[in-house]
């Protein structure tokens, strides 16, 4: 394991006494300490990164090495960097009792087949070109990543999530409290859950999709596979489903207070003479897929364009 404390950095860099004197001058002099680490890594290994504040930028490269560059924030205790077997760890360690710590900016290059596990508090996370599975988590930082065929899981409280897929089917799971999610060119299975975030999904073929919100709007644009199972649910968010290509599915759409609109023809009917509630059930094409949409107050729109 290599520890990139400021003192170790200066020792390794052989910068001599003048800079050590500068180091002794006080923490302010340490602002933006450069990071430069590199170690061999398994081409399909796991890379774990944790950084509280600042940013994490990860890109894939064709080498079997992990490289970490960037700048260590002022007040940070050290950077831990280790690589053993299939696991590479990059951790920005903070002093336990200090609250004055500047953000650390990490720039990683990892083998393209790596699996990622990234944890941040307010640091933004950006990943590109990684083909392995990804588990990206941030409290308030934004997450931007690219999805290949492997599973991708993104979780935030208030941070926004943007995932760009490659069109290959995979499993994508996005959970936010208030963060918005913009998922494009994804395919296969998408699971999304939010309280007030707005979720927009542009898919190729969708086989399984489950989106739920409390007040956030939900939208999906894509093609249903013949055995598709699509399930939307929201309390007060609006739901919009725009389907492409031939549609063969049974639709089960209902709302307690919201409007139901569709481009297929059948009209919603009241579920009770004396209380609110409308439902729309119909079969389109072969009817082998299933589409369920439920809201309390949110409006629902189902169309094929």
């Amino acid at each position: 394991m290599t520890r990139c404390s400021p003192a170790a950095f200066f020792h390794r860099a052989r910068l001599g006494y003048p800079l050590l004197a500068l180091l002794a001058a006080g923490p302010a002099a340490l602002a933006g300490t450069p990071i430069e680490e590199r170690a061999p890594a398994d081409p399909a290994g796991q890379v774990e990164v944790s950084n509280t504040a600042g940013s994490v930028v990860i890109t894939a490269w064709p080498r079997n090495e992990v490289e970490v560059t960037g700048t260590l924030g002022e007040g940070t205790e050290r950077l831990e960097f280790s690589s053993s077997g299939k696991l590479t760890r990059v951790k920005v360690v903070l002093p336990r009792q200090s609250s004055r710590v500047q953000g650390t900016n990490l720039v990683l290059k990892v083998p393209a087949g790596s699996a990622l596990a990234v944890n941040t508090v307010s640091a933004d996370v950006t990943a590109a070109g990684v083909r392995g599975s990804q588990r990206l988590q941030s409290v308030s930082g934004n997450i931007h990543t690219e999805a290949a065929a492997e599973d991708v899981e993104c979780k935030t409280v208030s941070g926004d999530v943007k995932v760009t897929g490659s069109g290959q089917p995979g499993l994508l799971t996005v959970t936010t409290v208030s963060g918005d999610a913009d998922l494009s060119r994804v395919a296969g299975e998408v699971n999304g859950n939010t309280v007030s975030g707005a979720f927009t999904v542009a898919m190729g073929d969708t086989s399984r999709s489950r989106l739920r919100s409390t007040s956030g709007d939900l939208g999906l644009h894509g093609r249903l596979t013949p055995d598709a199972r699509v399930d939307f649910e929201s309390i007060s968010g609006n739901v919009r489903l725009d389907l492409q290509g031939p549609v063969g599915a049974e639709f089960d759409v209902s709302s307690f207070n919201g409007d139901i609109r569709n481009c297929f023809g059948p009209q919603p009917v009241r579920t009770s003479e004396y209380a609110p509630g409308r439902e729309l059930r119909f079969r389109e094409g072969a009817g082998t897929g299933r589409v369920r949409i439920k809201t309390l107050n949110g409006d629902i729109s189902v169309c094929n364009k």
């Binding site: 308030s140 409280v157 208030s178």
Partner: protein, 196 residues
């Protein structure tokens, strides 16, 4: 029929009536069948499909509490943080006009919320504000569905939405609990101790 009327009846019929038994025992015990029909209305239990769902929710809460408790033990406190988010106090979780999810569920949810209230102060301010706002939003959603169930008791759409709303609330509480767990009671979250 009055006493005077009876006195006007022919003697033989009057005597026959007098000979009739005051009560008749049924040929078989009818009470079990009657009781079986009365019991559901008296107890108003949750629908059969709700029990496994409620149990699953309790399992989520229990596992989150155990995790939080273990992680709390692992981390030595380094600073005290004033508890915040007093509004994270929940009323009894009702399920429509005359059903409730039960005291065990309420206690578990309250404990999870209190544990979160002690940690929420270490979230970045903007995230904390958003989280508090959204927890209130979740409670508002449950209340709104419960109000709708008053209008339309037993409506399957409303019951499904309400059950999922409670599940979502627990999922958010558990998720943030995990995000902020393992950090002792320090003044800020350390990403190296966050739970993946």
């Amino acid at each position: 029929m009055t006493t005077d009327d009876r006195q006007e009846l022919p003697g033989s019929l009057d005597a026959a009536l007098e000979r009739l038994p005051r009560s008749i025992e049924p040929g078989r015990d009818l009470w079990p069948a009657i009781e079986a029909q009365l019991e559901p209305r008296a107890a108003r239990p949750l629908k059969r499909w709700l029990w496994p769902a409620a149990a699953a929710m309790l399992l989520v809460v229990a596992s989150s509490l155990v995790t939080a408790s273990l992680l709390r033990r692992e981390s030595a406190p380094v600073a005290r943080v004033a508890p915040v988010a007093q509004e994270l106090r929940y009323a009894t979780a009702s399920f429509g006009p005359d059903q409730q999810l039960g005291p065990a569920y309420d206690a578990a949810r309250q404990e999870l919320a209190q544990s979160l209230a002690q940690r929420i102060g270490r979230l970045p301010p903007q995230a904390r504000r958003q989280l508090e706002r959204n927890l209130v939003e979740l409670q508002r959603a449950s209340a709104e569905i419960n109000a709708a169930l008053e209008l339309k008791p037993g409506d399957p759409l409303l019951e499904e939405l309400l059950l999922n709303a409670y599940q979502d609330e627990l999922a958010v509480l558990a998720s943030v609990q995990q995000l902020t767990a393992g950090n002792g009671s320090g003044t800020m979250i350390d990403a190296t101790r966050m739970q993946l």
